[in-house]
Point group: C2
Chain length 358, copies 2
Amino acid sequence: MTVTLADVAARARVSPATVSRVLNGNYPVAASTRERVLRAVDDLDYVLNGPASSLAAATSDLVGILVNDIADPFFGIMAGAAQTQIGGPGDGSGRAGGEKLAVICNTGGSPERELTYLTLLQRQRAAAVVLTGGAVEYPDHQAAMAAKLAKMADAGTRIVFCGRPPLPEGDALVAALAFDNRGGGRRLTEHLISLGHRRIGYVAGPPERTTTRHRLEGHREALRGAGLGAEDGDEERLTVHGPYDRRSGYEATLEILRRDPTVTAVVAANDTVALGACAAVRDQGLRIPQDISVAGFDDLPFSVDAVPALTTVRLPLFEAGARAGRLAMGKENPPPGGIATIAAELMIRGSTTPPRVG
Amino acid sequence: MTVTLADVAARARVSPATVSRVLNGNYPVAASTRERVLRAVDDLDYVLNGPASSLAAATSDLVGILVNDIADPFFGIMAGAAQTQIGGPGDGSGRAGGEKLAVICNTGGSPERELTYLTLLQRQRAAAVVLTGGAVEYPDHQAAMAAKLAKMADAGTRIVFCGRPPLPEGDALVAALAFDNRGGGRRLTEHLISLGHRRIGYVAGPPERTTTRHRLEGHREALRGAGLGAEDGDEERLTVHGPYDRRSGYEATLEILRRDPTVTAVVAANDTVALGACAAVRDQGLRIPQDISVAGFDDLPFSVDAVPALTTVRLPLFEAGARAGRLAMGKENPPPGGIATIAAELMIRGSTTPPRVG
DNA sequence: CTGTTAGCGCATTCAT
DNA sequence: ATGAATGCGCTAACAG
């Protein structure tokens, strides 16, 4: 019923080995036979059996891209960009040549699912794995991840981090592209301070994630640099943690305003959270930015369309994702030391202004 | 070097077949031996060889989810929802049990890449394929898709459409969840007409996609139902096509305003496009909704946070994606006739009001 | 409930 | 440049 390599060989009057060689193209084959074989492939509508091929060759053409939340454009943009470098141009024939199968795996931010997906990819003998977004800092989980990644790397799987700091152990096995979340966070808050803000609320992400920690650390660096926060307990009082979603931004902002109605600015962990923060501010009858300035992080596409446009920190998500894809394909050499820090750019827009006097 | 099933069998002092049985769990095994085997698996840190397993069993645990643009939350939400039903709960061990590997494939809207991905999934003997979003209506491509899907279905791959109309041939091979784009589009424009709008611009998506066509048809049904458009050429003049992105919304809206400065409302092909439309309206010095009403489609999460909040048509993306995932897993029976139409709900918000008199 | 026996379809030595 | 032979690691009958 199902057409195999042998069938193609028979029709082309060559040996199975020859068919395999023209299909993989890694070996000299006479032009005339190649043509004959390809015609037989078309005639028979033959489709290579991936599992059999992978088994015999001990490698596969699968590349996994792990993301925390695919419904969030932050990850969608990186994943899509990576895929453009992995999927190959496509030859328009639908026949599929040497392309890899770039697949996106949605962990939902769960450490367990992250490990499960890695195991699944390990089973498939994936050619490469790209891990995007911040890591969870539970020691057990980090150790388990490190062990599993080491094993996969050992088995020949290329490992690439994208927007994620390298593992504590600092394996040389991986190439890491880390965003400068700390620096971006610092400059953003410095901007607010330079405008004259002194009481700044901070809606942070989940405490266990590296991204959250780094952005928050940057924020506090800026506060301390200006002699704010550390001494009077404001840092703790004006920081509220929650997930990276709109609802969290809304509720955390209400909480911050309740704790201190005199805050003049709210910094959100990312742009999505900032949208929720804006809604909360408005629902309190306050105006942005006249009464309260609001800032985000990431510069997602919708941020420029917020009203007023959102001051935020731009991360080159597409470029980083594409580079991660190239690293996964071995098209590009790893950065020196295996790790590159990607700069973050402050985008000042209408949602931040000097606080009202008085 | 690499641990195989036989190694585990040797260590557990059982036959390879027994190990296979406990791993797959589809067969009775004595509790004591099962335990022994599992311990051996852990001791040896054994990982099943996916390709070998798939080859022998002639099936794989891969499920493909095809999307047009993973950076667009419209697809991210559906894909993520589908994955929640497919990936399995995860047992927290990271060991990976009977889960499927749900993978998202980003076609970028290209027909060629769509076919290429299907071929790749066909190679892998995917257990199921979920196709999301509107289809491209080029006859050749439709025929090629129908042929390939038929072949895959024939080989045992489950095919599910999500937010996509069934194929013209109407194969019984697939289960289809189709959004009521036409009805939603019609009700949206009827809403504007009922407010008193008479000259309504329409920023449409790419003309070759079913989603575009259906939404536009709904729009025109409403116009004609009110005796508008058809006779005076407004339909054509006030419709501009473009991709489903912000930029297109911006530019098309400028074009519409140029063609007819007296339009009082602009309907966009989706919410992202609507955001661009809003920006264009504002850049022309016009206010929303006082000078011009703007409406979108999909009700993506950010739409409620637009200022003013966007009137749009809500599609239950998460629910539809989850249902598609269950259909792909065979956890749920296909709808009668193989096709279910998913209702669209009009969400009236602040971006639409009656036009100014005069 | 468990062991034995055969392939699954292909890539890759070796020959020629 | 091509063919023949071997085995990748596992599952699925079939015995027992």
